[in-house]
Each structure stands twice: as C-alpha cells, then as structure tokens.
Symmetry: C2
DNA sequence: TTTAGTGCAAACTATTTGCACATCA
DNA sequence: TGATGTGCAAATAGTTTGCACTAAA
C-alpha cells in the first residue's frame, strides 16, 4: 500500500547523500515495509529477499540495514534473543502507530507489542532538565504473560 | 557498606534452591555490588575478579551472571555496544535508586543515566489491560547529548 | 562420598571486514 | 569511466558447551 511512498523517500534520501540507488537497498527497505510489525533479524530478511533476488549476500543485508538505520528510515529493536531486529521506521507508520513498546515474557519468551505513546511528557521533561536532545526511545517490560501466569 | 547484606541474601537464596555457595558466586555478586552504577560486561567483571582470584574462568563468570539474573539479584542492560551488561539488582539499591533509565548519545556513544520512576502508572495500566504481569522494565532514550549538540 | 560447580578449550552465532568483481551515475 | 556497492569467504567478538577435574555438602 505505502510501498511507493517508501521507495520514493529512499530514492530521494540516497540521492541527497550522493549514494547509489541499488536493487538491494530498495529490496531491504520494501521487505521491511511489507512485513510491518514483524521485528525482522538480518538472517530472516536475507532468507526472504533471496526468494526474489537469490544472488543477494548476507553482508549486503547487514550493510544496508546499518545504512537505513543511520538514515532513520528503519528502527532497531533488541529483544534479547541474541540478534538485533529491525522494522520499518515510525515515520512511515502514519497515524495508527506512533510508538509501541514491548512486553517480553520471561517464561515463554514471547513478545507482545503494546501501543501507546505515553512517553512524550517524560521526554520533554528530560530534554529541559539535561539538555539531551531525544530523537527516539525503546521501552521494554519484562514479566510473565497471561497464559504463563495461568499455567501455574 | 551493603556488602554483607548482599552476601547474606545470596547465601540464603542459594541454600533455598539447594545450590552450592562458592567463592566464585560470592565474588561475582560482590564485585557488581562494589561497582554499583557501572554497567559491567562479563569480560570486565572477569578482569576485575581475576585480581583477587586469578584462577576464575570466563565461562564461570557467564554462568554465574545467568544464575544471578534468574534469581533476580542482578539487572541486565543492553546498551547496544555488542555486549550484555549487568548491575547490582534494584532490590539492593534501597531508597536512592528506584529505577533509572539511559540516555544514549548517537554521536559520541556516551551513556547518561537518568533517575526517575515515572513508569509505575503505565505499568499498572498495562497489567490491567493485558493481564501481563510486569516485574521489570528497561527504558532507553536515543538522541544527541548536550556537548555534541553544542559542537555543531 | 557424591553431586554440583569449575576451568579450559573447542564450538557456535551474529556480525564485520578485505578484496576482487560488478554496477550505477 | 570511475567511484561506489556487492558477493564471497575469512576474520572477529561475545557467548555457550563438553568434558575431565575440583570442591562444597
């Protein structure tokens, strides 16, 4: 749906920086856009992209993710499962998702997203008090999910 | 100062579980207690403990950290620098530190702790709404620190 | 004495890097 | 064309695991 918008912005941002527009870069971003809300690791992305473009290399996926992250087109999440995960940037998510947090179950390991942008007040408070300019945040809650609670 | 309290609790908790009280376990926890607020990685702890107890192995440090974490005696923090870090559990920190968050500068990489326990309301809200039982949280803010902002 | 715990070295996994080749501007 | 980007394989870094030995109960 927003695929075109995503691609267009990437092309513009790459040109702006004097970087080349390649199939690989377009594919990495559009694959992330398609699987919105999925927290994909580099290997998973690699596997998925290979279906369309078998000659892509894993190293390219890593390099591209780093680039897209620096360009603020994608978000990075660390769910403590041993790999860094990415999702399409909150810039693209429009109205529906401002920012979401993660509930991580310590028993079963499942990750539940929780929507809600209740940190804005806190952010301005911190900026005023410390002079630190905040551009993003990551909030994780650890505990025991409903099902695991009931299983005891 | 609180060294004795820390050691006493560890002994009690180990006995409770039928686990053995070893020099290594006592050392890992007390070293973390001494360097409170330091976010130590396994390798750093290992280096520091070796000064007192040179025969300790790195694998033991890793295994012990995992055990102490499961016992809720230490907290785990991930500052995106490629290694997991630990600090003495918030249980021990008494009045002064309830919970603190981290401001991570994307330019210089420095980490600034920020005290404040402003998440309690949010936690009860989530528990009521989702049934997820929260025991801990990790909140990180990304942005640009005061010094780096001024350097532009 | 007996089982849990340790130290060492090897294995593993996610990620990064060097380099020759390919590709976009 | 000429630099930037890519794919591959090798290197790296953090962490885990197998196993014989040690030490706590």
């Amino acid at each position: 749906m927003e695929q075109e918008k995503v691609e267009k912005l990437l092309r513009a941002k790459l040109k702006e920086r004097g970087l080349k527009i390649t199939q690989q870069r377009l594919l990495v971003l559009s694959t992330l856009a398609k699987s919105s809300g999925n927290h994909m690791a580099a290997e998973e992305l690699y596997a998925q992209i290979q279906q369309q473009y078998p000659e892509i290399g894993l190293a390219t996926v890593y390099r591209t993710l780093q680039l897209l992250y620096e360009m603020q087109l994608i978000d990075r999440i660390n769910l403590d499962d041993g790999c860094v995960r990415y999702e399409i940037g909150h810039l693209f998510e429009g109205e529906m998702k401002h920012s979401h947090h993660h509930l991580i179950c310590r028993k079963c390991g499942k990750v539940f997203p929780f929507d809600g942008d209740l940190l804005d007040g806190l952010e301005t408070h911190i900026q005023e008090k410390t002079g630190f300019h905040i551009v993003d945040h990551e909030l994780k809650f650890y505990g025991v999910c409903k099902q695991c609670m009931e299983q005891e």
